[in-house]
């Protein structure tokens, strides 16, 4: 049993997920982690699958050819042999945080905030952006789940991320994820 990653992108049409997952099922592949979303009319699929012995990246890509042709999808499959075990890439000394950024749209919001995050030893776990607002007054909204170093180093990192966002005149909330164990 090996693990593969698969990406597919094309103009959104009904049936894409059913067709792709159907090919996977026919080959005995198990869909593990996935993100599938509509990006302004284009459907993006990003999957990690476990595949039976003999189902290589090339074999899966070939098997997906008819679906790719039918739906006009750009499909890529690659082996994931050196991947870490399933789960979020959270180091034992890191802590989960959530960041929300919103403000007038301008170039560099993602780069500035994520650069400050990386410089502070943080790591992006999940990131989502929305471009909303009126014509002529676009608003950019970005939400991230990240990890930051534990303890006061995390607070220092959070402060640097807020400062970086403030330099772009966008609002930024950074807070530790508080989990209540019941």
């Amino acid at each position: 049993m090996g693990r593969l990653w698969l990406s597919a992108l094309g103009a959104d049409r009904p049936g894409i997920v059913a067709a792709v997952s159907g090919v996977l099922a026919d080959l005995g592949c198990n869909l593990e982690d996935s993100t599938m979303t509509n990006l302004q009319g284009h459907f993006a699929v990003l999957l990690v699958v476990s595949a039976p012995d003999g189902v290589t990246a090339g074999a899966l890509e070939d098997a997906l050819d008819p679906v790719a042709g039918l739906f006009e999808l750009v499909v890529a499959v690659r082996p994931l042999d050196d991947a870490p075990p399933p789960g979020e890439p959270v180091g034992p000394r890191d802590e989960p945080w959530t960041i929300a950024v919103h403000g007038a749209d301008r170039t560099g919001i993602v780069r500035t905030v994520t650069s400050a995050l990386a410089d502070a030893g943080g790591n992006v776990v999940d990131l989502s952006t929305h471009l909303v607002g009126e014509e002529g007054a676009p608003v950019y909204v970005m939400t991230l789940r990240v990890t930051l170093p534990a303890g006061t180093a995390g607070d220092t990192a959070a402060g640097r991320i807020r400062e970086a966002a403030a330099s772009l005149d966008v609002h930024c909330s950074v807070h530790r994820d508080e989990v209540d164990l019941l």
């Binding site: 302004q40 009319g41 959530t98 929300a100 403000g103 608003v139 789940r145």
Partner: protein, 166 residues
Amino acid sequence: MSVRAVLTLPHPVLMATAAPVGDIDADALALAGDLVDTMRASPACVGLAAPQIGVARRAFVVDVTGHAKAVSCHGTFVLFDPVVVSAHDPAAAREGCMSVPDLTGEVARATRLTVTGLGIDGDRRTLSVDAFEARAVLHEIDHLDGLVFLDRVAGPHAVFARKTYR
């Protein structure tokens, strides 16, 4: 009293901490009237905070009358300089905001709440609210601290577009 325009992101008033109202004078009463009129002008609106109509003062109106999720219901009430006395039993639910018209978000908020502030008669009012009315009150108080629901969501997958495409 009049219906005022509701500001939307990224207006700076929505991101600023509002100043205390203090004495309930003619200006404060005019603000209360505008909040009520503006809230009622939008049928789905159950609350409005002063910064949303461009006034950086600590005041809001809430009215959850007839809402399916409401348990406690104090009708239409305006509170000036509100303070949360106690908050218990958080629960997550999807909420929207007239100042963030294109998105909704999943936010955890207390479902039992005691809040105190000054009413339009200048007397102190202390209210026990719960369920949807508690959510509305906390949402409006957040506006007085320069926060919108986006600042409270649990992560990227807790934000939802209201329309599919631009």
